[in-house]
């Protein structure tokens, strides 16, 4: 019962938060320029401009302007992107796919490495592997993502030449169809291994760069969780039953240590999201982050505001989902034992 109440409360607050965020975005866009600026493009005729001005325009009182804008958003009209010379909503999906692919790759790296390292360190508490891992974690949390990326580029691209920049080799990319927009998936669907390999090879450096900070956070959490669980009585009781250490670790300690780690994994999603901006700049990745960076440099309000809206909605949703999953998993906490 308690889960349900808690979740209902969270769901009820959600619309308030969304409205709040939209208000902030609207305020920002007004500070940044005229209310119609984001809808205008070079190609428009004076008549079209006048029509837009009337719909969203200055002669209306502020609340009406907000409602007009909000209405536009809900209808899918997010304005005109000066950077891409196209409506925002048209450009969005492709760039989203590219960023998603990168983020998922980074997440996979971060989660597998993080849980693995954290378990490794936690099981060897206060011994050398643990100390080394702790150094790694603190470094990861303090590391400027863009600097790390540049370092990796210098070593692996300039000097060693092992990995490329960008998302793909143009000819290979053009050789397959792109139904989902996800290069890896599309190449597998087309059965084209060369393309798949091309995709992976381009993903390596950016994914590692993006995932590094998150790996550090997850490692730290997993390690401390595991150490805590290993100190619990049931672990000792499991050993007393004659279970070999690997089973005690896997089935008992680690399983329970994963529960709090999952929240961290969910929360570090925000970290990943913010990292995509600079990672895409450095590695020339054609995703949302680089689009945003270009928009910032050229004052393209529409893109910037759309980006803020999108990421906030995503952020809120993910946080909610994480809370649901955590509430479901931790029966101890939820059912009040």
């Amino acid at each position: 019962m308690q889960i349900r109440d808690y979740l209902i409360r969270r769901l009820m607050i959600l619309p308030i938060l969304l409205i709040g965020v939209s208000l902030i975005v609207f305020t920002l866009s007004r500070v940044g320029g005229s209310p119609v600026g984001i809808y205008l493009s070079h190609e428009m005729t004076p008549d079209e401009v006048a029509e837009i001005e009337e719909r969203f325009g200055l002669d209306q009182p502020l609340p009406m302007q907000y409602l007009a804008w909000a209405g536009g958003v809900l209808r899918g009209d997010l304005g005109w992107s000066g950077v891409s010379v196209a409506p925002v909503t048209q450009v969005f999906p492709d760039k989203l796919a590219a960023t998603m692919e990168l983020s998922v790759a980074a997440a996979i790296v971060a989660v597998t490495l993080g849980i693995g390292l954290g378990t490794f360190a936690g099981a060897r508490r206060d011994r050398l592997p643990d100390h080394l891992t702790r150094i790694f974690s603190v470094s990861g949390a303090s590391m400027p993502v863009f600097w790390f990326g540049i370092l990796l580029l210098i070593v692996f691209w300039v000097y060693l030449g092992w990995f490329p920049t960008g998302r793909s080799d143009a000819t290979v990319y053009a050789s397959i169809a792109h139904p989902t927009g996800l290069y890896t998936v599309d190449s597998l669907m087309a059965g084209n291994l060369a393309a798949f390999w091309d995709a992976i090879w381009h993903l390596v450096l950016p994914a590692i760069t993006l995932g590094f900070g998150t790996t550090a956070i997850i490692t730290r959490m997993m390690r401390s969780s595991l150490v805590e669980e290993l100190g619990e009585d049931y672990v000792e009781a499991a050993r007393a039953k004659g279970l070999p250490e690997r089973l005690v670790m896997k089935r008992h300690a680690r399983r329970n240590a994963l529960i709090p780690t999952i929240t961290v994994i969910g929360l570090s999603f925000g970290f990943l999201l913010q990292g995509t901006v600079v990672v895409e700049i450095i590695f020339q990745w054609p995703g949302l982050g680089r689009w945003l960076a270009d928009a910032v440099l050229r004052g393209d309000q529409a893109t910037i505001m759309a980006y803020v809206l999108f990421t906030s909605v995503l952020f809120l949703t993910v946080n909610l989902v994480v809370d649901i999953v955590y509430a479901y998993l931790d029966r101890r906490v939820v059912l009040g034992a």
């Binding site: 009585d233 499991a238 050993r239 007393a240 039953k241 004659g242 279970l243 399983r255 029966r331 034992a337």
Partner: protein, 400 residues
């Protein structure tokens, strides 16, 4: 029972289950090496319940855990002595004992949960909150009886199944087992396991075992959880059950029933029990013999009757005096003055000397040794060094 060198060593020990000989367990702490257990010796006989009594911190839990080497290795260190163990089989075959402190880890894993089982103080914490009861109890069977269970079902089990039974499947194999025909075979194995688990649970008078098996620990009461743990411990019919304060965390009303249960099961299964407690009244009820421990050493051993009716060691006397009972005049609740001494690299001395009203010079400079007073009764105190057991000094009861 004796470790004093001037008494004839028993040529053949009477059917013993375990013999602790001069056990020493130390802990590396910031302040130095703590001598938590410092030369402990006692025996556990076939079919008996031996009580190990002492206040918190005296080393009884460490001693208990040493039987199955549960002490974590930094910071703990098994610094000396041996724990000899005879399984029922070994006894019947007249074999020599094994030293639990020396056997390889693989053998120790086979003994834990199978020949020697342990139940802990707080049943709520001794169960994994994320797994069902059935799953956890089944682990014991899987770990120790998998071979027999499997061959009973299928005289020639395939390797895949064999590994599954011994809990050794890789992730890939586990996925494979979800597919028929293996799925059916696993189901048969699981059903057999469930039967065994249910049977074990009924032994401890748990009502509705099938339902309990599907429950999670937090859904059960304290007393029920302890029954589950007892059932789990006795599942493989161990030769020795170590009970570390099994009723301390339970309601007084439940305590009595759990104690009854342990006694009854022990008698029926012919298990020997090492019962750790700080509660003398409980010990008096179910133990055949008692060993009193203080600051890492055994100070007195004897039958329950002897210890309670004729306590010899000043510490034991103090304990008896401190137990409120109808025998005392009202208002006469004695407390032993002073505190347990620091156990960091202590010099040779009687550990109780700083609190003992009868302490003399030798008590502070030499380690006492166990002196036999009667066949079962021995005490480690210089006051009894006269050599003639009929001439016992009379130490006054003290009442503060």
């Amino acid at each position: 029972m004796t470790s004093a060198p001037d008494v004839d060593p028993q040529p053949i020990p009477r059917s013993l289950v375990a013999a602790v000989k001069d056990l020493r367990v130390h802990f590396q702490a910031k302040a130095g090496l703590v001598h938590a257990v410092d030369g402990v010796s006692f025996e556990i006989r076939d079919g008996e319940t031996l009580g190990l009594v002492g206040e918190t911190g005296c080393g009884k839990s460490v001693t208990a855990r040493s039987f199955i080497r549960l002490i974590p290795s930094p910071p703990g260190v098994y610094a000396g002595g041996e724990i000899d163990f005879w399984s029922t089989e070994a006894r019947r075959a007249g074999q020599r004992p094994i030293d639990l402190l020396q056997i390889p880890q693989s053998e120790m894993l086979r003994i834990r949960g199978d020949r020697i089982a342990m139940i802990f103080q707080d049943p709520g914490k001794a169960l994994n909150p994320a797994l069902t009861i059935g799953r956890q109890v089944a682990e014991v069977f899987l770990q120790h009886r998998s071979g027999e269970i499997l061959t009973a079902l299928d005289p020639n089990p395939p390797a895949l199944l064999r590994r599954a039974a011994r809990q050794r499947s890789s992730t890939f194999e586990r996925l494979l087992l979800k597919v028929p025909p293996w799925r059916g075979k696993m189901a048969k194995l699981t059903r057999r396991l469930d039967d065994l688990v249910a049977k074990a649970l009924t032994e401890t008078q748990i009502p509705n075992p099938r339902k309990i098996m599907d429950s999670y620990p937090h859904e059960l009461s304290g007393g029920m959880k302890q029954r589950v743990l007892i059932a789990q411990a006795l599942a493989c019919n161990p030769d020795l059950l170590i009970a570390d304060e099994p009723t301390t965390a339970l309601d007084v009303t439940i305590q009595a029933r759990i104690l009854e249960l342990i006694s009854e099961l022990q008698a029926r299964l012919e298990t020997s029990v090492l019962y750790i407690s700080h509660d003398l009244s409980l010990v008096k009820e179910i133990c055949d013999r008692v060993a009193v421990m203080y600051a890492g050493r055994i100070v007195e051993t004897g039958t329950t009757e002897e210890i309670f009716s004729n306590p010899l060691h000043p510490y034991t006397r103090g304990l008896m005096a401190a137990v409120p009972s109808a025998a005392h005049k009202r208002g006469e609740l004695a407390a032993i003055e002073g505190n347990v001494p620091e156990l960091v690299e202590p010099p040779p001395s009687c550990r109780f000397s700083s609190r003992c009203p009868f302490a003399v010079e030798i008590c502070r400079t030499t380690d006492p040794r166990a002196i036999p007073i009667s066949e079962e009764h021995s005490v480690a105190c210089f006051a009894y060094e006269t050599g003639d057991p009929t001439e016992l000094p009379v130490l006054e009861h003290w009442v503060s």
